[in-house]
Amino acid sequence: MSGRTERGNEKRKQFAYGLVAALIGVALLLPSQALAHASDRGHVLLLPTGYYVVGGACAVAASFLAMVLLRRPRRRAVAAIRLAEVPAGLRIWTSLLSFLMLAVLLAAGFWGSRDPLSNPLPLTVWTIVWIGLTLVQGVFGNLWRWIDPWYGPLRLLAPILPAPRRLPSRLASWPAALLLLAFAWFELVYPAPDDPYRLAIVLGAYWLLTFAAMATFGHAAWSRQGEFLSVFFRLISAYAIVSERDAGGRVSITAGLPGTRPEASSGLSLSEAALLLAALASVSFDGFMRTFVWLGAIGVNPLEYPGRSAVVLPNTLGLSGAAMLLSSLFFACLAAGRGMAGGGPRLADLAGRLVWSLVPIALAFHFAHYLVALLVNGQYALVAFSDPFSLGWDLFGTAHAPVMAGIAMGSDAAWVLWNLQAGVIVLGHVAAVLVCHSACAAIYDDRRRALLVELPLTVLMIFYTVFGLWLLSTPTGA
């Protein structure tokens, strides 16, 4: 299916996707010479960020205009390169290994250092998995499928487990969407998500509950409908350059241009769309809740931030408000576009097709907002892995490596970081416009109607570009 094409500017689209993926890939692989401290916002305030905001908005608008003006090319098949073929059974072992690592991490959470920057559990959960793995998935495909810590144990226990019961399909992926919101709340609002002990309790409980749900309803069903990481990671990897396909007990791993995979153009359910919207809203709120604007609005002096425990209620409301606002805007744009185009598929179906355009934006936000944390806390993680229980071990020779926080400090780093962040934000939105355009072109035969339906969403994307760049350049205090 790698040769599947849509009506629309496929060739250019693929080139653009390739470019986006390549740039994100390059950015991920850059040596660590260039990253700004979170509190180094002061240096960013002196940069001409206003020009970037205007330029970014123009670039996204121009990419839409290019779609309007450019001629549709003929359909053309694009070959994928086969990278490897591995036995499907390997997944049991990689999952078991992951389960084992989780057990060690939980033990570290309960009995290791109390310092969240020395204990490997919070560093793995927040830095390696939530930040790092999300970005890796975006570029290199659904690795999570191989390392989810339930598959292996469930397969081992399969002979003694009862036959799975049917999970009602009307539940769709709503459990996963709600769990993702709960996870976002724990990350952004709960006062101590980094505390190793409390994190170990929450993570241990989540593993057990998920295990029970999977044992009851089957691994596949619960991974599709209830386990939020599996759903999120599957969706976020839809435009990766690497993909895989099961075929007769073997898994074929291929590399191809982003956007050429069938799953990236099939319709998502309303609940999956809601999950993607919630994911993007949560990263956006993570940035917004630190701005002077939000802190001022909730009556907090940004120079004397009272700590998370003082703002649980306003931030809970803010996070849910952000998810509702973004969803409302998204659906309002779709409804407006559908109205302008004189009808078309049901709104929910349209949403299921067009919500894919949020994937590149979510990835870009993730990259831009968590880049500094990834680079600095990633180093703490390397140190912690060598001595997970603070027993004076040096398993990987990194226990005494100095953590170079300076890679993200000072005006030079701020300049490089800002450019990386702004570049990725703009590219993410340009990619979103391309995805949206190609989806609309596939739905509507009439070119004019296709352009009309995507117009309001494109305006939303231009606005979100401005918002994203503003978030990264406005004064912050928390």
Partner: protein
Amino acid sequence: MAGKRVDSILSTKLSRRGALTGAAAATAAFAVGPGFVRYAQAQSSAPVKIGFQAHRTGIGAAYGRWYEKTTNAAIKAINDAGGINGRPVEVVIEDDGTDPGRGAEVVGKFATQHKVDVAYGTLFSHVVIGSAPAAGEAKLPYFVVSEGHHVASTKLNRYVFQPGITDVKSQIQAMAPWIAANAGKKVTQIFPDFAFGYDHRDYLPPALKAQGADVVGQIAIPPTESSFTKYFPQIPADTDVIYHVMVGPAVLTFVKELGEFYGSGGPKLFGFIDSLEAVDINSPGLEFLDGSHFWEGSPRYAQEGDSEAQKAYRAAVGIDANGASVDDPKDVSTAAHMFGCWETLYVIKKAMEDAGYKGPEDRAKLVEATEALTEFAEGPEHPQGAKTFDGKIHQCFGIQNISKVEGGKLKVVHKTRIEDGLYEPEGDYTTQPL
């Protein structure tokens, strides 16, 4: 004797996990570590446990990182020199998220769960104020390194001490003689419009008055402000000195706009390095600070006349001649404050030795022994300089540095006397029951 030993140890490079690795690590270290022989005599003694309330996450994290490094270095030095009362010292670190609510929780955990001997290390004032009642309730001696006036105000409780860093009221007061004699008699203050700024607003004018100088203008800037040019016309034309204590991400913008407002002329500038702690003084936008003066608790840059103790301290903590990490020259330290961690740990050591401290049952004795301290001599244990200690208000008083921005560095041009910063005690903790 301890001091001499420290000198020789301080030249050893310290890894960041050297001391703060928790209970198990400390126990393991006893068996194999260099301190084994010395501890052997006191093998039956459990380690002295110090609960380090650290700002590892939240807004204080940049400070917290350097407080951790300094603590690490001091604990290593203390342990290498034989520990406290022949017992090794172990640090139990708990993150408070720079959150007063969690701060109180952490102090409670130190008392009941970790059963530490003392709690220590808090910087941010609101966390100190939030945590102090928990320390009082648990009767857990709580040694903060915050520079706030809250301890000395005697509004906290008998278990809270600040013996390693001078409080802000004293710091401000100590600046007045130099400002009046060298910078000018007419001072305009620009400060953020909240508690941090109010300390400067309230304590400077009377101190200047006593020196025959006056505050001619006070401009309070709303904390959410990020552009300042509109406030500058409020600066009285006859101002000799602008005394500025802006903080937050917009500080660089403030300095840049002030420079644009005055061009090459304008009044002299005097500031507190709190505005630019951990920020490279040569950052773009700060050019206008060239030739201006700053308060520094301890000098960021190595100075020509640095004592051996100061050199040894800098080497132990791992900062280079520019006050940045020796491993990472872009990582500018919080030099003006973090020395307080080093010195506070040595005060704890001294007080425990004076009290013959054996365990939590001796906490009251430890409080009294700390209150009985009166002065600390400059040396390896107090590299920032000599200090006096007022046991009634639980606060130390030290010399302060006034540094000039010159050639892209901060050069100390004046050291205040301890007496410059003394004031009438506002109460007496020793009258409170233990």
